[in-house]
């Protein structure tokens, strides 16, 4: 049940492949649901060249673990793997990976969706978009409304 914060690029499906080979017992879980969030090259008609993700690492790990604990209390979860990127990221890079293994499909979907939802609302990460010389901190969550201020 690893939670990993990582400053370097990661390939989410390669990591999942490795994780299944190394850490999962074949035939244990019938269902795996995975969410991968990546940096888009466009955000509300604002082109994005890069992004800096700042984090409060000790608290982020704890908050993500709390969210996962709450999910495993509510749903039957065999295992999970959470990765979150920080530092400088480029469009196309994976920002976050949430993978949940379960016996049952519906449990895996519900738990995965719960984890990414609460991770976004509770884990202390902040995104700053860059375009040319301009940068802006995103305010509030991307699936809520991003109100933002630009400063050169």
């Amino acid at each position: 049940m690893p939670v990993v914060l990582q400053e370097f690029e990661f390939l989410p499906y390669q990591r999942l492949q490795e994780y299944e080979e190394q850490c999962r017992k074949p035939g244990e879980s019938g269902a795996a649901v995975t969410f991968v969030g990546s940096l888009r090259d466009m955000h509300e008609d604002f082109p994005v060249d890069a992004m800096t993700i700042e984090c409060y690492p000790e608290m982020a790990l704890q908050e993500i673990e709390k969210v996962c604990d709450a999910a495993t209390k509510q749903w039957q979860v065999d295992d999970y793997l959470i990765m979150h990127r920080y530092g400088k990221v480029e469009p196309g890079d994976a920002l976050v990976l949430v993978a949940v293994w379960s016996t049952h499909r519906s449990q895996a979907f519900d738990a995965c969706r719960y984890i990414i939802h609460y991770l976004k609302h509770k884990a202390p990460f902040w995104k700053q978009e860059h375009h040319g010389e301009q940068s802006r901190w995103l305010q509030g969550n991307t699936d809520d409304k991003a109100v933002s201020e630009c400063h050169g």
Binding site: G37, I53, E54, C55, Y56, E58, M59, A60, Q62, H84, L95, V96, I116, L119, K120, H121, K122, A123, P124, F125, W126, K127, Q128, W137, L138, Q139, G140, N141, T142, A146
Partner: protein
């Protein structure tokens, strides 16, 4: 008492530093009182979030010797 105060993201830029080690005179003061003492010239932003020892807390949370207090804007991870 001695506390560590951290600032993140836009608030870090606003305050002009990421971390302060500092002495707070009275034990049992609140997080907002710590802010007022350190940032007398800066109004506390209305949407500010507070964590004490890496746990979400409120501006009224009482601070003890050795605590780590973090102030930051709403989170935008994932």
């Amino acid at each position: 008492m001695s506390v560590t105060v951290k600032y993140f993201a836009s608030l870090r830029e606003h305050v002009g530093q990421a971390e302060q080690q500092c002495q707070v005179p009275e034990c049992g003061c609140s997080a907002s009182e710590v802010w007022a003492q350190l940032n007398a010239s800066l109004e506390l932003p209305s949407n500010i979030l507070v964590a004490v020892n890496q746990d979400y807390a409120s501006l009224d949370t009482r601070i003890n010797d050795g605590d780590e207090i973090a102030f930051f804007p709403p989170v935008t991870g994932g």
